[in-house]
Subunit: 332 residues, 4 copies
Amino acid sequence: MILHLKKNISELQVKQVAEIHEGVMFYDAKRWVVVTSSSIKKPLKETQEFIEEFIETETDIQLAGKKYLTETRSVKWGNIEIGGNSNNTVMMAGPCAVESESQIMESAEFIASMGIKTFRAGAFKPRTSPYTFQGLGMQGLELLDKVRSRFGLSIITEVKNLSHAQQVLDVADIIQIGAKAMYDVSVLELCGASKKPVLIKRGFGTTLQEFVQAAEFVLCKGNPNVILCERGIRTFETKTRFTFDLCGAAYLKHYTNLPVVLDPSHAMGYSYGVPDLAKASMAFGCDGILIEVHPTPSKAKSDASQQLDFPTFTKLMGDLKTIGGAVGKQLV
Amino acid sequence: MILHLKKNISELQVKQVAEIHEGVMFYDAKRWVVVTSSSIKKPLKETQEFIEEFIETETDIQLAGKKYLTETRSVKWGNIEIGGNSNNTVMMAGPCAVESESQIMESAEFIASMGIKTFRAGAFKPRTSPYTFQGLGMQGLELLDKVRSRFGLSIITEVKNLSHAQQVLDVADIIQIGAKAMYDVSVLELCGASKKPVLIKRGFGTTLQEFVQAAEFVLCKGNPNVILCERGIRTFETKTRFTFDLCGAAYLKHYTNLPVVLDPSHAMGYSYGVPDLAKASMAFGCDGILIEVHPTPSKAKSDASQQLDFPTFTKLMGDLKTIGGAVGKQLV
Amino acid sequence: MILHLKKNISELQVKQVAEIHEGVMFYDAKRWVVVTSSSIKKPLKETQEFIEEFIETETDIQLAGKKYLTETRSVKWGNIEIGGNSNNTVMMAGPCAVESESQIMESAEFIASMGIKTFRAGAFKPRTSPYTFQGLGMQGLELLDKVRSRFGLSIITEVKNLSHAQQVLDVADIIQIGAKAMYDVSVLELCGASKKPVLIKRGFGTTLQEFVQAAEFVLCKGNPNVILCERGIRTFETKTRFTFDLCGAAYLKHYTNLPVVLDPSHAMGYSYGVPDLAKASMAFGCDGILIEVHPTPSKAKSDASQQLDFPTFTKLMGDLKTIGGAVGKQLV
Amino acid sequence: MILHLKKNISELQVKQVAEIHEGVMFYDAKRWVVVTSSSIKKPLKETQEFIEEFIETETDIQLAGKKYLTETRSVKWGNIEIGGNSNNTVMMAGPCAVESESQIMESAEFIASMGIKTFRAGAFKPRTSPYTFQGLGMQGLELLDKVRSRFGLSIITEVKNLSHAQQVLDVADIIQIGAKAMYDVSVLELCGASKKPVLIKRGFGTTLQEFVQAAEFVLCKGNPNVILCERGIRTFETKTRFTFDLCGAAYLKHYTNLPVVLDPSHAMGYSYGVPDLAKASMAFGCDGILIEVHPTPSKAKSDASQQLDFPTFTKLMGDLKTIGGAVGKQLV
């Protein structure tokens, strides 16, 4: 149950309402909001004088649900907007990881030259093995900061865990919470305390219900700028790296009010399939597409098999714009 | 290993070559072909005089592999062609099941009015429970025969098992082997002995390797007209009926020489997601799309939740044509 | 809904009751039974005079459900009984496939020497590829018939599809419906018309609901002798062949009235894990264990990696008996 | 590749060896060890003078592999030992969460009265929704500290993320890294810097390879006291909460040198199946069993459906001891 409190009440009174219902409170720019368990279907009597309106919900997908807000939320950074009244599909592109100054600058220059505004690259890489490249860490973040000032690109980069979450928050324009980190409440809550856009990637073993619940952890701290990203789930099929769950994306589009970004690169795991999947994503009508691009994919320190080279990506951008025209979407 | 035998040798000699290698033999319109286990890498000495050329293969995906034929095979029925040199994407549409004469005629009239040439509907329904509608059986087949003659539509309909496989073969223009029947070697071999197009649906628990192996059972009996259909696999996600495996479809397109049809209706299980998934399928660049359409979906005797109504389907057809234009594909 | 009809009514009247409710009818040795969709919660008025009692059910798991029969059904063959009042766990052992007379006789002699009464081996092998050993077929069945007469062993062997189902029914003491054939209604119904025990293997992509529904197809034809066999499901984990679903077995034991046999050999796929899994199965309290044993596993024509050799199996039998003693179960 | 360095070399020299091979270094009580990527098969020439011996490995499962240590490592706490030369199976039992002083003391008193030495309960609960009970946090940890001093029980409790990891490390005798936290390198490394036993739960979407890799993050920091815990993976089957992967446990037992604990409670999700699965786990031959027990399961604030009540657990303990006797294992 979501409670909208009356304008004139004090923070102390809000706290009382929250405590009585064992709920969570935040200020959403217009009013105080208290969210309780969805098992509570009606406000308790003693709090009714403080409550402007309440919205009953079936599950704990509450602030993210279409029942609460019937339109997709608008999320903005730089000069970009997705969701809301825009018909935009944002392209977020760049290499898997920051590997060196020359690699990242070459990548950024190419991405900027394509008219793309949002650049992706990881400084903290969540790797399976301790014996492989773990990312450049703080040094990588600093290079991304340089990319922004040199090329005017907005930066989306990943948080792995709490140990460097604040540092990523300080530098990134969009904070990406990775597939392996999305159950980390300490990171979700830290992002909730910011107003920066947060892109949450679905864990590869994560149900849609759990995925949207992760967004609730951010939303109920008062940050409405949450984006959901489908990047493939783990199934019995291993000829491809993961299984791209477009049915799940259709569910998210239908039942939630959050913009949905699709990541065919990680789903497929092999560059040969990425362009067709990206074209499918565009025609599907998503709010963004995330593509890994690398100056020399075969030499990449991570995800070598799935990154596109520059000529392939250039061709793909043209195709995506044409498809965008056909389905009433603008690639930004 | 695939062996192409010399033109002038006798069937008896072909048999000897097959037996020596424990292989399978068939005539492919141009020459005799013997296919052995892929573990055999070279023809045995005593057979070399009969062999024109041989193609080594890595796995038992042999006749279906891009290594054997680098272009997608052409499959034809009625005036339709997919694969080959065509840029066609075929629409196969119609209700889940034949329910009654009026329902099937109303459906067929609508489908024909949309300019579609290929009509789908099931007479033998593979249902989970013995206590639900199992399809009209032979009576359903007869109604489909009427549909063809009345509206000039080609008919694709499903075989459940051997008990009615010959009857379906006699009536259908394209034989559909359902997701639950695709391991049935008796049905696959019967279809292999025909020349009619055979559309094999991927089982929901079937790996890509097994899926293409099912096609090999048909191909190695001498029927080259095989179409693969991805219709969703079973994963941990249950908010949608199945998970549409577009990554798998990308694999099939890349590594096999068979046309690929996509079935978003069964993957999604809910009509709300079908149009977006169908649009994605079109932009992906598949050889066909299979959509369930029903005059009154809510009253359908099976798959009620996923069938589109006529207005939604009409809108979708327009969108698909526009997207087809953008990606160089023609919807037929 | 399950309807027990009154003793004195005619078959014609039973048919009327069945038709009115669109149900299935059979005689269960005591009375006529009609089973309708579980969505029907009450008999229609006009049939009430024919009905002795009716049992409402929540899902289409009806005849197999604990709600209908609270005790596990007794299934018998040879001198063996499982379920019912017995505390028996049956050992079904033997090679994957009948490969030759000497291989099968050597296997059978060994199995008989261990005091085991039920011998397994496949004549019709459901293989993934057409280019590998498909079983000896009818010749294999004849060899199994010889095994029975020479060693007094009961035979369990597999049906792949309808093309040889009657032949298997004629020879086998227990008909095994394989994991890839268990959706084949034509085979299920043929087995339903017999009284021989039928062991249904769960498909590797099959939900528990669907699995028990397959049993319903046999039960509602009047054959009460159905055994369920869990043999591993397909999951994202590929270091082992399948994933042994003991949680699912616990569900079957709790909610159904059918004996449950466990098959660790196919689940694991590697002989190193089979003994520990077999011991777990015994302590779990199942009604039977199915183990693949081969005179020379490394030379087996199918499933070479998972078959136990004779010494390992001998040791395992001793362990299973000891564990049986600890949990109040007798290995037969 | 694992390098054992010579006794007399300096830390600086170790660092050089590590840097040259881009490896990780730690002191393992006997000697300095450097672990490199498994793709490196031989030490570089310039380091050979410092190297006593090197062990080539096929994958990045290195320190945890049977190739490196052929026996299961011994892990000890309180008076308990598992692995090594012991034949012990440890019982770790207690409620899902610390809910209140009375609940936790009642639970601990019962567990101690059963002769069990290791008590489990969570203070930081990784919940799916922000609108449900999140655990008592630091207050819960303090209550667990009281449990230890009052009942002499060793405490195993869970870390959710870095925000409270040090606090858990300070209080717990065994640190449990939960299924949702096991990719968190910051937590793994912190545990690696301690010598306390660390029990890592397999994520429900985690492959065996990734699972053991998580252990490598702890081992390569110098903490050898790592225990692996299988607690069910997520599959298409949803009638039970998860699917207990005993095949996977067999793999871990065969290929790794780490003790394996099994958790049937979380796998099953329903108390009705837990005793049979626990008995199976005992006969399987694991190093420990983790069971949730609650004074009044129906009133539990989390995992209400799966916790055993005291009488059921008492009965189970008796059964487990008997089975332990049959398989040569002692329940401690």
